[in-house]
Every structure is written in structure tokens, then in C-alpha cells.
């Protein structure tokens, strides 16, 4: 699974970084920075939670 952020929808709420701190870093303006690497299996549940909690629904998960 890979985690991406839709930069148009994202409003820098930072909830994704709170719920998935192992994987999401915020830049100095509060926007998430992601490298698009495959997610380790133990973080998948947390990634789903972060995607569901994003107020803008900007966290995009892809199954590859």
C-alpha cells in the first residue's frame, strides 16, 4: 500500500501526521510530505485510520 496526498484538497489540518507520525511529516506550513514508498505492513491500519479522519479526505491510499 502507498500513501499519497491530494495537494488540491489538502488544507494542512495535520490530522494525518498525528495519526501516522511514522510515515507523514509536515513541512513548515503544515502540509504533509510523503515519499511514495510502499508502506510497511504494520502501518496499514494506521494509514486507513488517518485517511478516514482527514477532514478534507485528501489522504489517498492505493493498493500497490
Amino acid at each position: 500500500m502507498r500513501v499519497r496526498v491530494n495537494p488540491i484538497a489538502c488544507v494542512a489540518h495535520g490530522v494525518c501526521a498525528e495519526l501516522l507520525p511514522e510515515w507523514v511529516e509536515l513541512d513548515e506550513w503544515g502540509y504533509p510530505v510523503l515519499d511514495g514508498e510502499p508502506l510497511p505492513a504494520q502501518l496499514v491500519t494506521h494509514a486507513r485510520r488517518a485517511a478516514a479522519a482527514c477532514p478534507a479526505r485528501a489522504v489517498v491510499l492505493s493498493e500497490d
Binding site: A12, V15, Y31, R57, A58
Partner: protein
């Protein structure tokens, strides 16, 4: 309760008390849920000790609790024979012959809360934009519930403390809403800065 029922001649006193108490609890929970919904949008209120998702989840859980008490409130109202309210006035505003207008506001609030709750539980399957458009109806819902409570509620319409509870809640919600307006989407203007300087 039975003594009061005997002196006032209420035949269904327990239901009547249940209607009033569940309404009060629902109103207080709805107030807290609304304020927390507003608080959850504020990035400035988040800290490592109280992150945003905490406000968000508390908001969600208090909202669901409020819905539960609101359901209990409307169903005990239906079962109670003191005020004659037909079952369809639960969903159709203006169908009640008892305090038609003020009950209609409560009915409208009930319809809105059902729609907000259902769309929120299906949030993962909707676009963020349409979910949000529906969710903003919460700003209409709360005042409807307040006026319904002040005008229909025995403890507010005929008793002092219900009135104070309503007015106190109004002050809290209004303060939160004004704070929300003053800081509307603080991230938006920042975005252009972030983009252009990259």
C-alpha cells in the same frame, strides 16, 4: 414522582419526566458536540497533549450520544399521552396540533440531525465537498434546537433554570462560531505562499 403525578393528575408522569430529561440531556450533548465540531476545525487549538483527532473523535462520539438521547426524547414524546403528538409529526414539520410552530422547529432539527449523522457515517463514500455542504447545516440545527427547547420545554418556558441553561449555551456556541468565522480557513491563504515559494 408518583406523589407529583397524583397531585397534578398526570396519568403518564414517568414518560413525561423521561421526555423532559432526555430532551435536556440531548440539548446539552448537542451543544457540546457543536462546540467540539467547531473546535476540531481550529488548528491553533491542537497540541501534542490534545491533538486534533482527539477533538474530532470526541465530537463524533458526543454527536452520536446526542442522537441517541434525541431519539429517546422523540419516542417518549410519542408514547406520552399528556401532549397529543402524532407519529408523523416526528418527521413532518407542522404536523403537530400541540404548539404547532415550536414543535415544528424541533421536528426540523430532528430531520437535520438524522441527515448529518447518516452522511457522516457514510463519509468515506462521499466526496469531501458534498459531505461538508451537508455538515454545515449543523449551524442551522443548533439554533432550531435551542428555540424549540426555550419555547416548548417545560423547564425553559415555565422555569428559570432552563432559560438560563439555554442562554448560557447560546453564549458558548456563539463565541465558538464567531471565533470560527474570524479564523475561517487559516490554511487557505498560506497555501499560495507555500506553493509559490517552492
Amino acid at each position: 414522582m408518583t406523589a407529583l403525578a397524583a397531585t397534578t393528575g398526570f396519568t403518564n408522569a414517568p414518560l413525561w419526566f423521561a421526555t423532559r430529561s432526555t430532551a435536556l440531556i440531548a440539548f446539552v450533548l448537542l451543544t457540546l458536540a457543536t462546540v467540539l465540531g467547531i473546535a476540531a476545525t481550529q488548528r491553533a487549538l491542537a497540541s501534542p497533549a490534545w491533538p486534533r483527532f482527539a477533538s474530532q473523535h470526541l465530537h463524533r462520539n458526543l454527536s452520536l450520544l446526542a442522537v441517541g438521547f434525541m431519539l429517546a426524547h422523540v419516542f417518549t414524546t410519542l408514547l406520552d399521552s399528556f401532549v397529543q403528538v402524532s407519529w408523523w409529526s416526528l418527521v413532518v414539520p407542522g404536523a403537530s396540533s400541540y404548539k404547532t410552530f415550536w414543535v415544528a422547529l424541533g421536528t426540523l432539527a430532528f430531520d437535520i440531525i438524522v441527515v448529518i449523522t447518516v452522511t457522516s457515517l457514510l463519509r468515506g463514500r462521499m466526496s469531501a465537498r458534498s459531505w461538508r455542504a451537508v455538515h454545515l447545516a449543523a449551524y442551522g440545527l443548533w439554533p432550531l434546537a435551542l428555540v424549540h427547547f426555550l419555547q416548548t420545554g417545560t423547564d425553559a418556558a415555565h422555569g428559570r433554570w432552563g432559560l438560563w441553561l439555554g442562554l448560557g449555551s447560546l453564549a458558548v456556541v456563539a463565541a465558538a462560531a464567531v471565533g470560527r468565522l474570524l479564523t475561517a480557513n487559516p490554511a487557505r491563504p498560506l497555501r499560495s505562499v507555500a506553493r509559490s515559494s517552492r
